[in-house]
Symmetry: C2
Subunit: 271 residues, 2 copies
C-alpha cells in the first residue's frame, strides 16, 4: 500500500503547479498525473458535467492502482469533492481545505480580510468561503470569478508587461484591491503563473497557491495514516486525454523540464 | 426528404452567427442546431480529438433525421470535412469553400491579398489557403492563428473599447495590417462578434464571415438538388451537451432572442 503511487488530476496543465511542490515535499513518492486536455476547461461547465468528468478522472487513476488522489483542480475540489469521497474508498484531498486554513492563519494576524479568486464554477459553489467560515466566522471573505485567467495562462499571456493580462486582472480586481485583503487565495491551479501581475495589483496581500497548500495537506494525511513511502523512486508518469507531444511542450512552462519520455494518452470517456 | 430539417453544429455558440443568416436565407426550412458546450473549444485540440468529436456530432444530427448538415465550425471544416463526407451519405457543407470563393472575388478586384484568421487547428490545417490556391493560385494568402478570440467572445469581451480585446487583436494583426489585405476571412464563427475591433485595425479590408458564406453555399446546393423546402415552419430546435439554461442565456448575445423553450440536452459521448 505504502509503495503504490499517488494520483493527481486536473482539467489540464494547471495542476502541474502542484506537482512541483508535491515532488519537493515527498521526493520518495511515485506519482501518476492525469490532465484532461481533451475536455479542458472545467470551470465554465455545469455542475452535472463537472461531476461526470471528475468521476471518470478518478476511475482512471484508481485503475492505475493509486493509494491516494490529489484533486489539483479548484473547480472539481469546490463542486464534487464530497461525491468523489463517497464514491471511492481511498483518501482524496482537494485544494480548498489547505488554502482556506493557511489564508485564515494569515488573515487572523492582520486585517481579517481574505479574497478568493477562482473559476465561475468555483466561485458559484462558495466552497472556499464556507470552509473559511467553518474555521473562523469572524473573518471576512470577498470572492471574484476570473474566467479569462485560464485562457490567458494556457496561451502564454503571463509576462508582467502583457497588456491584455494586466487589463483583465485590473478589471477583475478593481473592487477587491481597495479592500486590501491580507490573504488572496489563488483558487485555481493555473493562477500562480499570473502571480506577478496579481501581486502588482495587490501589493499588500499574501498570495496563497491552493495547489501547494494541498500538497502539504496530503503529506500530513499520508504521514498520519502510515501511508508515506520512504523507499520509492520519485518517479512521475503523465497521462493526457489529447495529444501527448502538445502536452509535453506546454508542460515545460509549468515544470521547467521535458516530460516527453513519460507521457501517455488515455481515452478518458471510457472510464 | 425536402421536408426534413437541416442540421447545424458547432463546438459551442459561435455557429449561431451562421444560424441568423441561414434562417434569413431559408425562412421555410426547419433547423436542428447542436452546440457542444461540454467540450468547447475544439480549436486547441489535436486532429484525432477533432475527428472523434465531429463524427459524434454528425451521428447525433443524423439520428434526428436531418437532410443535410452545415458544419458551422471553422476547426472541423478545416480538419475533418473529408472524413465526415466519406462517413455519411447526406450533403455536408463546411465553412471553407464559400468564404474562400468570396474572398477570392474581392481580392481579384483589388490588390490580390487575403488574410485568414482562425483557431490554431484551422490555421495549422492550411485548409483556407489550399482552397484559395485552387481558385486562383496568383492570390497571396497570409494567415494567423488567434487562440484568444474564442475565450474573449465567450466571456463577453467584445465592446469596441475593451482594452484586453483590442490589445490581443492588435498583437495578432500587427504583421497583417501593414500588408492591407483586401479581404479578411473570419475563419471561426465566433469572430464576427469582434468585427468592430478587427475592422478598426484593418480599415481597408472587407471582412468575410465564413458562417454567412456557408449558409449561401448550402442554399445553392439544396436548390440545385431539389431539396429546398418551401413549405416548412422555419422552426429551429437547439441541443447542447451541457446546461440548457446557460446555453439559452449565452445564446442571447448571438441571436438577440430567447430560445429557452426550444433547447434540450443530449449526451454526445454516447453517439
Amino acid at each position: 500500500m505504502q509503495n503504490q503511487p499517488i494520483g493527481i488530476f486536473d482539467s489540464g496543465l494547471g495542476g502541474l503547479t502542484a506537482v512541483n511542490e508535491i515532488r519537493r515535499l515527498m521526493p520518495d513518492e511515485d506519482f501518476i498525473y492525469f490532465g484532461d486536455t481533451a475536455r479542458i476547461p472545467y470551470g465554465t461547465r455545469s455542475l452535472e458535467v463537472i461531476k461526470k468528468y471528475s468521476l471518470q478522472d478518478c476511475r482512471f487513476l484508481v485503475s492505475k492502482g493509486v493509494k491516494a488522489i490529489l484533486v489539483a483542480c479548484g473547480t472539481v475540489s469546490s463542486n464534487a469533492l464530497e461525491l468523489l469521497k463517497s464514491s471511492f474508498s481511498l483518501p482524496i484531498i482537494g485544494v480548498v481545505e489547505g488554502a482556506a486554513k493557511r489564508a485564515a492563519e494569515v488573515a487572523e494576524q492582520s486585517n481579517g480580510i481574505i479574497a478568493v479568486l477562482g473559476t465561475d464554477a468555483t466561485i458559484k459553489s462558495g466552497a472556499f468561503t464556507k470552509q473559511i467560515e467553518k474555521i473562523n466566522p469572524s473573518l471576512r471573505v470577498v470572492s471574484k470569478s476570473c474566467p479569462m485567467f485560464v485562457p490567458l495562462v494556457e496561451n502564454g499571456h503571463t509576462a508582467t508587461d502583457d497588456i491584455a493580462a494586466n487589463a483583465i486582472a485590473n478589471e477583475y480586481l478593481s473592487e477587491i484591491a481597495p479592500q486590501e485583503p491580507s490573504a488572496v487565495i489563488l483558487g485555481c491551479t493555473h493562477y500562480p503563473l499570473l502571480s506577478d501581475i496579481i501581486g502588482s495589483i495587490l501589493p499588500y496581500s499574501t498570495l496563497i497557491s491552493s495547489g501547494s497548500e494541498a500538497a502539504s495537506t496530503l503529506k500530513e494525511r499520508l504521514y498520519a495514516t502510515g501511508m508515506l513511502n520512504g523507499t520509492g523512486n520519485g518517479h512521475t508518469v503523465y497521462y493526457t486525454s489529447d495529444d501527448t507531444m502538445l502536452f509535453a511542450k506546454n508542460a515545460r512552462r509549468f515544470l521547467g523540464s521535458d516530460i516527453s519520455d513519460s507521457i501517455y494518452i488515455t481515452d478518458i470517456e471510457n472510464y
